[in-house]
Symmetry: C2
Subunit: 537 residues, 2 copies
Amino acid sequence: MEKLMNKYSERREELLGFENKFKLDYSEQDNIKFHPDYSFAVEFVDRVRCYEWYNLWFKAQHTEVGAPFLDTKNIIAKTKLFELIKKMPKGGLLHAHTDASVPLGDVFKIAHKYGAFIQIKSTHPLTQHNIHFGLAKISFRPANQDKLPSIDASVMLTESYETGTWCNYNQLAQLAQHPDNNNIIPFIEKQMLITAEESYITHNTMGKIWSKFGSCFGVLSGLIAFEPIWEEYIKRLVLRCVEDGVGYVETRLLLINELSYDVNCNLRLTRRDSILIFLRGVESAKDVLREEGRLDKFYGINIIYCTLRFVSEDELWNAMLTCLDIYKEFPTLIKGFDLVGHEESPSGHTLNDYLETLLRFQQKQIEEFGDIKIPYVFHAGETLHDGSIVDDNLYDALLLGTRRIGHGYSLYKHPTLMQMCKEKGVCVESCPISNEVLRLTGGIGNHPITCLINHGVPVTLSSDDPAIFQNAILSYDFYMLINHSNKTNLGTLKVLARNSIEYSLMDEEDKSRVKGKWEQDWEEYVRWLRRQGEEWK
Amino acid sequence: MEKLMNKYSERREELLGFENKFKLDYSEQDNIKFHPDYSFAVEFVDRVRCYEWYNLWFKAQHTEVGAPFLDTKNIIAKTKLFELIKKMPKGGLLHAHTDASVPLGDVFKIAHKYGAFIQIKSTHPLTQHNIHFGLAKISFRPANQDKLPSIDASVMLTESYETGTWCNYNQLAQLAQHPDNNNIIPFIEKQMLITAEESYITHNTMGKIWSKFGSCFGVLSGLIAFEPIWEEYIKRLVLRCVEDGVGYVETRLLLINELSYDVNCNLRLTRRDSILIFLRGVESAKDVLREEGRLDKFYGINIIYCTLRFVSEDELWNAMLTCLDIYKEFPTLIKGFDLVGHEESPSGHTLNDYLETLLRFQQKQIEEFGDIKIPYVFHAGETLHDGSIVDDNLYDALLLGTRRIGHGYSLYKHPTLMQMCKEKGVCVESCPISNEVLRLTGGIGNHPITCLINHGVPVTLSSDDPAIFQNAILSYDFYMLINHSNKTNLGTLKVLARNSIEYSLMDEEDKSRVKGKWEQDWEEYVRWLRRQGEEWK
């Protein structure tokens, strides 16, 4: 029997070892053994995770490891493991929409600063009754003194408010400071984010949750498509990324309207102007970082230019021409082109619908530059369906040479496409918390990312729309994965972070410079972990 | 541009075609083309599905395709597609636990018949208040006249009921007919099933939902471990299967207690006795079927003998010895051995924990029979975790030569094990509705079954514990899959049905006989579909 048991153990070891070779982080796991500090760090992080599994999660009555993000965020934020993950140099944020990346707290702070130039209207009076029953929908717009309404914002709080009338936001914000009205700002804020109750209970279909999701952008856009706010918004974006251990960003920028508001609240800023202000915002952030002596933690920010998947083929072509013009002026800034919006919306288009224009854009670039300078970086397969036209977007994304796949949620159902991603080096921008809040999955345990990692498909982690999902820039996504999967350790996270640089769209020179910086930061992090580990019980 | 478009279309076609070759039903899809009636049937079912997608699901405000089973069951039950699926000859039910397979309505009917011999007790008086707040937990037991309590069951409905006192169930059931008490039977019934609210809202961790799930078995066992009910229960099981288009069953039988109650309510039936009564039940069912002229729709029923994964190694060995004894007396009836119970329970054991005994059981069979006559048919990987000891059960199940894998929920995360299943012909008993009610997945769209099918891993569909999940024998599981996945058509379902015979554990002779019968039934079904299709708008 002993012989039989030994033989069995050998076979078991062999099988596990063989399967591990497929894993995305296989060679990295080997690496760990040869670096004592790194080994120590990996073991320390594992130790903290195990400790919290047993002493926090397993003992908890009302939650568990892998429970939904919005239900557990407040617990996670207080854990030691989260503290360690937060500090980690995460490389790049490759999939996040510019207009939903900065925490709402920051957005409100900026908005209050320019409150005198912002107007608010509501579909219903902001009475306590309407607030309680969630009956009022609000909108913002910038407006200069001339356009200021004569009515006082205090009217908004009474039944005599004529719905749809614009009021000064400053006045309202001041009224909201009164204890009787202290639920007004939270009520407005809720219109820009998705709550646990909405995601998990009330908005229980794709249609309902995406309708709420879309309306958040509507409210937000009334604030940020305004020169001074836009500039500070971008500045905060950079600072928040650096704070969360993210040094590089490829932000998906959708300038939905042809014109935005300038500093005088005139609707006259072109998309090119918005890019210039974007760059000013980046420079302001760099000034701050320089002053604080941590400019080296910021590696850079670039843009993936986007339009909506709801536009006509002509509108798409126009967006592409605008993108080309902007690219010509800012050739190092524009790194790719994408289509955004709910892939499954009945009014949306598949990649195949747009095929002719998508091919023509590539042709035009080849004619002009002899090469494709603005590659596609498509959203594809953000769906639960199997063999639907949205699932099929994965075929078209890959055939059209997408450099990465945004979400790729349904990719794990495609053996051939998984193989293609491995062979061609197409990386999946996986967004576990986004997919959870938008109801594709009940939690990280059911998210395809572990399947992709175990099959060796290139993956990075992203947060998509962190502001709306009450998410941080990237730390929670990293936390969810490592806390859930036993096969994920610090080495796995390092591979995901490294992928975010390797599969970025920087040119080779920048990439190698950034990689060097990140590696330095990583070494520093490992040393910090050692000190932490030595202090920890 | 046209040339470019054409070339693109060709490449696209090629890629889709190439990937389709991996799919489990690839050759079956080819088959369809050559059989006009079959083609018609496939197209008709697709037509009905599409019609209902657009005219029912997409227009619905509060639900959608792929929404949770318990929320949509009542809608599904009224659809034409469900009517067509219900009639389908589904082959075999390979993964269902005997004591949770018969609809509760049937169980109550049998219980009421023998109500004079059944006692009930409760942890709290069955007052309207306690019923309303769900405070009372009830239990059943068989009891003969001598043991009947002197107290009247009507006391149970008052505060003066001394909790834990046994009362006659017949009396209670009669009182429950009074309009004032018409919530008593539903209240008792809810203790044997999982409600939508429990699964999706209140019991929101694995611990909570499995605790409820386990308690359902406790209530049920008080009724069915009693000779007359057990016999009728098995009879109904066969009849319900046939009614749902299931001709063959490999039921997982757990005779948890050493003794059950005989017809005189004496605790003296051995496990062997229970098997004899089981066979009497099967014969009664056959009598009914014979009378109704549809005995040919029943292909047979066999047993996978089970014990709990919570027992000690000694207890496991004893269960194996009992199983061997029973096998020797009923060699064609006992088809395999399995361990049941919550894989993730902290008090449960992994396969590796039991390794020595599991190997010894195989050794003993080889010594006695020169071969393994009672193969393992293990539950494994019924988990959301990745690389946990429960996930690792998959390695041990396969290394121990499991003939099929029960659930195999986490198998899709294992490239090597998927390949092993394909090469060795190990079939996954996939239970999508069970996995949903027990909170592994939010719906069929996130269930790994489509991934496994697309990767060509052998799969069948099962319902696990249909009584507790408010599920039918098999129709809803088939419906969920075909209604959700565009890549699934009648041909795919046929493959799943055929697999349930091919991967069954019948000997070759029986298997080929049953296969012949099922093929005949299938032909008949296809002809029926043609008639249905010709009548349908």
